[in-house]
């Protein structure tokens, strides 16, 4: 019985890993991030806030950035899921946001981009600054 449960668990985690490998491509995500760099950079506040430390952070909470009220009051925590929604249609998810651009309609592009954003939390260029 225990062995059966163990097998199910390892099978599940195997599929998860396999999916991770086949469907998410950080290098692709980094290439798509070029379209964000008109306003963002990983480590600096620009027209948009820095993306270092994004995952797990409350929307509109990076210290030193002047967010819209709409984003500050959105009550969103950035996770894979909330980023996927937001990046599909920023203005629909947070009406009044200053990130007033069309979203990314391609699901795979979004997944790759989000994997790149997640990887930033580990990235050396994000380590030198205190992430709020």
């Amino acid at each position: 019985m225990l062995k059966a449960i163990f097998m199910v668990i390892s099978l599940l985690s195997f599929t998860a890993v396999a999916q991770g490998v086949t469907t998410v491509d950080i290098a692709q995500g980094r290439a798509i991030y070029a379209t964000c760099m008109g306003c963002h950079s990983p480590e600096r506040h620009r027209t948009g806030p820095q993306h270092c430390g994004l995952i797990g952070r409350k929307a509109g909470s990076a210290v030193g950035f002047d967010y819209s009220l709409a984003m500050q009051q959105s009550d969103i925590i950035w996770t894979k899921k909330t980023l996927d929604d937001f990046l599909t249609a920023p203005l629909r998810v947070i009406p009044g946001t200053k990130m007033a651009i069309a979203g990314i309609s391609n699901k795979v592009d979004r997944a790759n981009l989000i994997s790149y954003l997640i990887s930033l939390n580990q990235d050396a260029k994000c380590q030198y600054k205190e992430i709020p």
Partner: protein, 201 residues
């Protein structure tokens, strides 16, 4: 380098005219929006919902324009850093100042559009957090500028579909074209393929 030749001086007049016509263009776009709102107001409760939609579309256009103005101010400040770095040859410096001038014109047109919609335009930041430690020679500065221009193309490409007013989308498209030309020239000066593909967003 032929492409880095500075503008003929007679273009000052043409520029002045084009600023004026763009102003008219943008302010007449604003006038259309306002009079449509006026009609909605006059036609009373039955059209209240429509009026709300139009008002919020106008507010959204102001937000889009203001985000674009912020990015343009950053570009002006970045070219200023480049121009004052002492790292640029006199030829390249001329081009940098010309491109900076274009960004200033974009700001002027965008600010006028915000005003014509009854909004308040954002101001430049007092301080920009540029990666100054990475600017050690002319190539670094050109790469930095090219990155900003490439980003600007994306920012306008993202903004154009969400404008409520199609005239504003058209104005943004004409700015996008200018940023794309800057990007190509900078890439060329860096010895890169100036037009590396058929599609960009």
């Amino acid at each position: 380098m032929n492409i880095l030749r500075s503008k003929p001086s007679a273009s000052g007049l043409v520029e002045e005219m084009s600023i004026r016509s763009r102003r008219q263009f943008l302010s007449s776009a604003g006038a259309v929006t306002l009079s449509a709102t006026g009609v909605a107001l006059l036609s009373g409760c039955a059209n209240a919902a429509k009026h709300d939609t139009e008002a919020s579309a106008t507010q959204q256009d102001v937000i889009i324009l203001n985000t674009a103005i912020s990015a343009e101010f950053e570009a002006v400040a970045a070219y200023q850093v480049g121009a004052q770095s002492g790292l640029l040859s006199s030829e390249v410096l001329k081009v940098a100042l010309q491109f900076q001038g274009h960004h200033k014109e974009h700001i002027e047109a965008l600010v006028n559009a915000v005003k014509s919609l009854g909004g308040t335009a954002v101001e430049a930041k007092t301080d920009y957090d540029f990666p100054l430690d990475q600017l050690k020679n002319q190539t670094n500065v050109l790469e930095f500028a090219a990155g900003l221009e490439r980003g600007a193309v994306s920012a306008y490409a993202g903004a154009i579909p969400v404008f409520g007013d199609r005239d504003l989308a058209a104005a943004a498209a004409s700015i996008l074209a200018d940023e794309a030309m800057h990007w190509a020239i900078l890439r060329n000066a860096l010895g890169l393929d100036p037009v590396p593909g058929a599609f960009f967003s």
